[in-house]
């Protein structure tokens, strides 16, 4: 049954019933309303604001020349052909290029909102589909899919998040944890966090070196004392549910998830090598910062978790202000580095899924919060309202190599990649201007429509909703997203 705003009144009881169900019955909360083309999804999340011109949408290569105008800076690398006819990527993405026959590039994503200097608001927007603050704790995409599509395997969490350290009092990280979370859906749809794949196994091994048999004796003692408690406690539904979930948690410690972590033993050395970044931590501009080893292993683990039965896995190249993709100077050098970090692992993930016959029913999506453009004040990254959309670069002089690159935040031009899961193969959607400002000039699309397309692939209608505070809250912005047919096979 299709649910929209008009029929909400009649059908809200259904959604409400879902919200109130006891946890062991929560599979019924998932309502498949349209036929999915994907059973699982891997979201490769590369926050920081990637320079689309050096990655998915190369323009004319204009080498550095001291004193060149901003309008003359169109690309810091050459374009390379890909396995898909007529589609080019930036140099340094040779591996992804070789897998492009499986993929779709969305080149014309554009926002009405100018996020200016604020990465976090743009990230929140991409992850939830709503502008911050929303007035409601908005759930992230992973929680939406976990709740609406449900679990694929009873002992595998439906939403798994890899590659973000979470125990923090750092304000930005706290903010990020919240928008990656379940919002008003509650802890049942919270991500199962794996900050570090290499240490991931410990999450499901007994804590603090405790032997598993002792853990079981302890749990048996818990069962015994709970069974000896006052009768009113034993009869209470809430207490019963609680004890049941404690057992489920114990069962998960032996689940297929645990097996998925064992990649170092199970996989061939050549395959492990393919998931490694092609740059060492010492070679990076930010030599002390995060090296993509963790990201690469996260991609591998994501594949194994999908094989184990995960519904939605998000792998993050951990965001840090002025680090990684958040480049405000040395743009060219940084992009060369970042491509070495991500090119191998992403391509290998797509190849693996394809070789195993999983790509057809697994959607892989690559996203960042906004694009980049030339900027007169690279370090600040400030984008005054509408400025980036008018800026031709005529008045900008690039007088050092550090200034050579795409350092300005660009809310009007963002791009995404999709592989498998019912999306088209070897296709590029939309087109951007060849000169600054490089705004979409053909088929611009809204983010809510992109979300609607993703949700459609997972079998979720755009106006699917859950009730909070006595009103429906939709999976796409106000329930208005329209799937983009052209992106789908």
């Amino acid at each position: 049954m299709k649910m929209n705003r008009r029929t909400f009144l009649q059908t809200s009881a259904l959604a409400v019933a879902g919200a109130g169900l006891a946890p062991h019955a929560r599979a019924a909360d998932a309502v498949t309303l349209i036929t999915p083309t994907a059973d699982a999804m891997i979201m490769i999340w590369l926050p920081g604001g990637m320079a689309q011109t050096d990655l998915w949408d190369p323009k004319e290569y204009t080498p550095y020349r001291k004193g060149m105008k901003g309008s003359e800076l169109l690309g810091t690398c050459k374009a390379i052909p890909t396995a898909a006819d007529g589609i080019f990527l930036g140099e340094g993405l040779e591996n992804i290029a070789s897998a492009m026959q499986h993929g779709t590039i969305l080149r014309s994503l554009s926002y009405d909102t100018r996020f200016g200097a604020i990465h976090l608001k743009a990230q929140y927007y991409m992850m939830t589909g709503y502008l911050f603050p929303t007035g409601v704790k908005a759930p992230s995409m992973g929680s939406v899919i976990a709740r609406s599509a449900g679990r694929r395997h009873p002992q595998v969490p439906p939403y798994i998040y890899i590659g973000r350290d979470i125990d923090t009092s750092d304000e930005e990280k706290l903010f990020i944890s919240e928008y990656l979370g379940p919002g008003f859906y509650g802890v049942n749809y919270a991500p199962f966090m794996i900050p570090e794949p290499a240490r991931g196994l410990s999450t499901l091994n007994a804590a603090a070196g405790m032997k598993i048999d002792r853990l079981d004796r302890r749990q048996a003692y818990l069962q015994a004392i709970a069974g000896a408690a006052a009768p009113e406690l034993q009869e209470a539904d809430k207490a019963r549910d609680y004890m049941k979930v404690m057992e489920e948690a114990r069962a998960m410690m032996d689940s297929p998830v645990k097996k998925a972590f064992d990649y170092a033993r199970d996989e061939k050395p050549t395959l492990l090598e393919a998931y490694r970044p092609k740059i060492t931590a010492a070679e990076q501009l930010d030599s002390g910062y995060y090296n993509g080893q963790r990201f690469g292993e996260g991609c591998l683990l994501a594949r194994r978790l999908v094989e184990a039965g995960a519904r939605f896995v998000q792998v993050e190249y951990q965001y840090g202000p002025f680090k990684g993709f958040d480049m405000h100077e040395n743009g060219r050098q940084r992009m060369i580095e970042m491509k070495k970090q991500i090119d191998g692992p992403i391509a290998q993930l797509v190849r693996d899924l394809h070789e195993r016959g999983l790509l057809k029913r697994t959607l892989v999506c690559i996203a960042t919060e906004f694009g980049r453009t030339i900027a007169s004040a690279p370090a600040a990254g400030v984008e005054p309202e509408g400025d980036a959309e008018r800026h031709t670069g005529e008045n900008l002089i690039i007088d050092s190599e550090a200034m050579y690159g795409f350092h300005g935040h660009f809310s009007s031009g963002n791009q995404m990649l999709f592989f498998g899961g019912g999306f088209k193969s070897g296709y590029a959607h939309g087109q951007t201007a060849a000169r600054h400002p490089m705004v979409p000039v053909k088929d611009p699309v809204h983010l809510s429509d992109v979300h609607a397309t993703i949700y459609k692939a997972l079998g979720i209608p755009p106006d699917h909703n859950y009730v909070t505070e006595g009103r429906p809250f939709y999976v796409t912005n106000l329930g208005k997203g329209q799937p983009i047919g052209a992106l789908l096979a």
């Binding site: 909400f8 009144l9 409400v16 019933a17 946890p23 200097a117 604020i118 976090l120 911050f132 603050p133 929303t134 007035g135 409601v136 969490p157 979470i166 125990d167 923090t168 009092s169 304000e171 706290l174 903010f175 944890s177 919240e178 979370g181 509650g186 802890v187 049942n188 919270a190 007994a206 804590a207 603090a208 070196g209 405790m210 032997k211 002792r214 853990l215 302890r218 749990q219 003692y221 818990l222 004392i225 709970a226 000896a228 408690a229 009113e232 406690l233 209470a236 809430k238 207490a239 004890m243 979930v245 404690m246 489920e248 948690a249 998960m252 410690m253 400030v382 505070e469 006595g470 009103r471």
Partner: protein
């Protein structure tokens, strides 16, 4: 008489025996506290009586009759602190300016400077004789002892404290410190009780209360008293046959009789001491009792020990405030800067202090919303570029901000869901056509707002208006943005507002009983009756007549028999949005899950960890453990309650997370237990420490069996794990199991 006192600004709540005597005074200096207290009680009593008599102050002054003002001896040490510029000049300006200003000095007397005061008027001699208050004609006139009418003529005479202030200043030499006025501006005023100087008939009208008096806090209290006079008293509690502890039980048991429930004949029992002591500790201060406290309570034979414990816990002001703070931080979306993305500013300290002081709830709300209040709170917030924005709960930069602020205010303080109506007519609640909401939202804005239906501009502007029609309230909405918010706040917290007091007493009820009298607590609506409408009316009325004293209502609830009933799953109420009219009878409290804060702080108490009372709510850190237990990483959106879901992610944290492990296995209690020779004692101590009670014999057997199997006496102790001691690790296992048991996880 119970006095709550807090460290800096001093709110003094006096609770004498009769309802009309309640008063609130705000005092800068503790040394003047008691005298002011007596005075403010008297004034407030007079005001309240006048208010009850018909909303005016006519009773006090008549020209022909002298009114006795008590004269107190002057303490010269205190008198030296009185400042002309700061204390005397404004007082005289408020009371005498109309006739004795420099423009128009009747009788040749002007109050415009200290010099003209000393000089005096045409008759009666010098106005002031420095050092000799009672020879000063100004004092004689005020007392009505001079040759002529009592001053101010035809107005309410000065209060005892105002007179005392003037006499003190004269006694100390009548020094003119006008040149130091600027320096004095930042010091605490020796405040006058300006309320008493309202002209006799002035306070009849709403606006006048705003104008007379320079002291906004007292103005606030005065208006409250006045407006309470317009509220018809709630129906008294019905007579019932069954056992009652207080009025609440009368309402609850009458409902049982009405519904012909068997409980009307045979009331369910109250809970045992072990359940009560744990319940009330967790409810009032948010931490379980220590083993000693639980034992002492169990051993206490006093009849009134439960009520005494409630009082003792409510008196632990800091702990009480600590337990309330997270709730209000979430309700106000209080958040320090979030990398430049903060929404509402940081109210943590304000909330904590307000609760530690037991600030009247209406005043606390006014200090959040009304920029003209002396205690108005908003926070500085640095954005990503280091630019400081002043930000508060009220945000009005864009129309979206304004709309969200209005919806948040309605949700938190009126228990009313209006978010739907912010884009279109509320299709689930006919009370809220969009225009009514937009009119309300307009009060937060600088101008009337346009109706924007589902993002389409209509060109139609809706005149700002408060959504409820309050008796005698002004209809004219001020244009000045601050005055607009002041207008809004005044109406919002007004005793005649049908939702304000009910919303907060309902939240309090829900906090302690598990379900509100109306549910959902944020969706109060006319087409859905509360479970106990008369009880809700009465509680709200009683709360207002106790000057919005939260502790008063909390005490009432916690000492009721209803709160103390035994938990019984067969009698427990449930709320289902689909069947909102299903009756709820309050025959058993609901089983309530511990919050992350209650759980963490209680584990510290149970395990005797060195934590120096630094409680979780103080921590800015968010961890897998705290998030799994429902503590939000950030508070960007207004939220008035956490779900108490159980989930695998959470159970994994309890079962296998390092954080709980570290707490359960490192407390001193394990060393104490390990040193006990008798294993039975070990089990007993564990139960007292964690579950606040003695184990049953079956539980004793289970505990002993676990010890025997895992720590055999005399056997060579093998290390249990890398960092664990073989003698304490099995004890840690047991402590963990007790803490992970439903009895610990829930309040029953």
């Amino acid at each position: 008489m119970l006095i709550e006192r807090a460290a800096r600004t001093c709110y003094v709540v006096v609770v004498p025996a009769h309802a009309e005597e309640y008063a609130v005074a705000r005092c800068g200096r503790a040394s003047l506290l008691m005298s002011r207290l007596r005075n403010s009680v008297r004034v407030a009593r007079r005001m309240a009586l006048a208010a009850v008599a018909g909303g005016c102050f006519c009773a006090a002054a008549a020209e022909s009759k002298r009114v006795e003002i008590p004269v107190r001896p002057v303490d010269l040490k205190e008198a030296a602190k009185v400042s002309y510029a700061r204390d005397i000049k404004p007082l005289l300006a408020a009371d005498c300016d109309e006739c004795h200003s420099s423009d128009d000095f009747k009788g040749g007397f002007s109050i415009s400077s200290a010099a003209t005061l000393i000089k005096g008027g045409k008759k009666g001699g010098p106005g002031i004789v420095p050092g000799k208050p009672d020879e000063s004609s100004i004092v004689k006139y005020i007392l009505g002892l001079a040759d002529g009418p009592q001053m101010p003529k035809g107005e309410t005479p000065l209060s005892e404290s105002e007179l005392h202030l003037i006499r003190s200043w004269i006694a100390a030499g009548a020094v003119d410190d006008s040149d130091r006025a600027a320096a004095l501006a930042n010091t605490d005023a020796v405040r006058t009780n300006a309320v008493s100087s309202l002209p006799a008939d002035a306070a009849r009208r709403w606006e006048d209360v705003l104008i007379f008096s320079t002291n906004r806090d007292q103005q606030f209290a005065a208006r409250r008293a006045l407006r309470l006079g317009l509220v018809a008293p709630a129906a008294p509690p019905p007579k019932v046959a069954g056992p009652v502890f207080n009025e609440i039980d009368q309402f609850v048991e009458a409902r049982w009789a009405e519904a012909k429930l068997p409980q009307a004949q045979k009331p369910p029992p109250v809970c045992d001491d072990a359940a009560f002591v744990r319940r009330v500790y967790l409810d009032v201060i948010g931490v379980i009792p220590s083993a000693q406290a639980s034992r002492a309570f169990a051993a206490d034979r006093a009849q009134d020990k439960r009520a005494k414990l409630v009082d003792a816990l409510l008196a632990r002001a800091q702990d009480y405030a600590a337990h309330w703070t997270p709730f209000w931080e979430e309700a106000l979306a209080s958040q320090p800067s979030m990398g430049g993305v903060g929404t509402h500013g940081d109210y943590a300290d304000f909330i904590y202090k307000s609760f530690a002081e037991n600030k009247p709830f209406d005043l606390m709300v006014a200090e959040i919303l009304d920029p003209t209040m002396p205690g108005y709170q908003k926070a500085d917030l640095a954005n990503a570029n280091g630019k400081i924005n002043v930000i508060g709960f009220v945000r009005t930069q864009t129309q979206t901000d304004t709309i969200q602020t209005a919806a948040n205010t309605a949700q938190v303080f009126l228990g009313t869901g209006m978010k739907c109506a912010s884009c279109h007519n509320h299709f689930l609640n006919k009370e809220w056509p969009q225009a009514r909401f937009t009119a309300f939202a307009g009060l937060f804005a600088t101008n009337d707002l346009e109706l924007i239906r589902c993002e389409k501009h209509s060109g139609h502007f809706v005149a700002a208006a408060f959504p409820f029609d309050l008796p005698d309230a002004p209809k004219q909405v001020p244009h000045d943005p601050e005055q607009r918010l002041h207008y809004l706040t005044t109406l919002l917290v007004d005793p005649t507002n049908p939702r304000f007091a009910k919303t907060i007493v309902n939240r309090i009820w829900k906090r302690y009983l598990g379900l509100g009298l109306f549910e959902p607590a944020d969706d109060f609506r006319l087409d859905r009756a509360p479970s106990h409408p008369r009880l809700l009316d009465w509680l709200a009325d009683d709360f207002m007549r106790h000057n919005y004293d939260l502790k008063h209502t909390i005490r009432l609830i916690l000492t009721s028999r209803t709160y103390q009933l035994r938990y019984d799953p067969a009698l427990e109420d449930h709320f289902d949005v689909q069947k909102p009219d299903q009756p709820r009878y309050a025959r058993s409290p609901s089983l309530r899950r511990l919050t992350a804060e209650q759980f963490t702080d209680s584990i510290h108490e149970a395990a005797a960890l060195h934590w120096d009372g630094v409680r979780l709510f103080r921590s800015a850190a968010s961890t897998a453990f705290t998030r799994a237990l429902g503590r939000p990483a950030v508070r960007n959106e207004v939220c008035t309650g956490r779900a108490d879901d159980v989930a695998v992610v959470q159970a994994l944290e309890l079962l296998n997370g390092t954080e709980l492990h570290d707490l359960a296995y490192s407390g001193e209690v394990l060393d104490e237990l390990a040193s006990l020779a008798d294993r039975k004692h070990i089990v007993e101590e564990l139960y007292w420490s964690v579950l606040s009670r003695a184990p049953t014999s079956a539980e004793c057997k289970l505990g002993l069996a676990y010890l025997d199997a895992n720590a055999p006496a005399g056997a060579a102790a093998k290390p249990a794990g890398p960092q664990e001691r073989a003698d304490t690790a099995p004890l840690g296992d047991m402590l963990w199991a007790l803490a992970a048991s439903p009895e610990f996880q829930y309040i029953r």
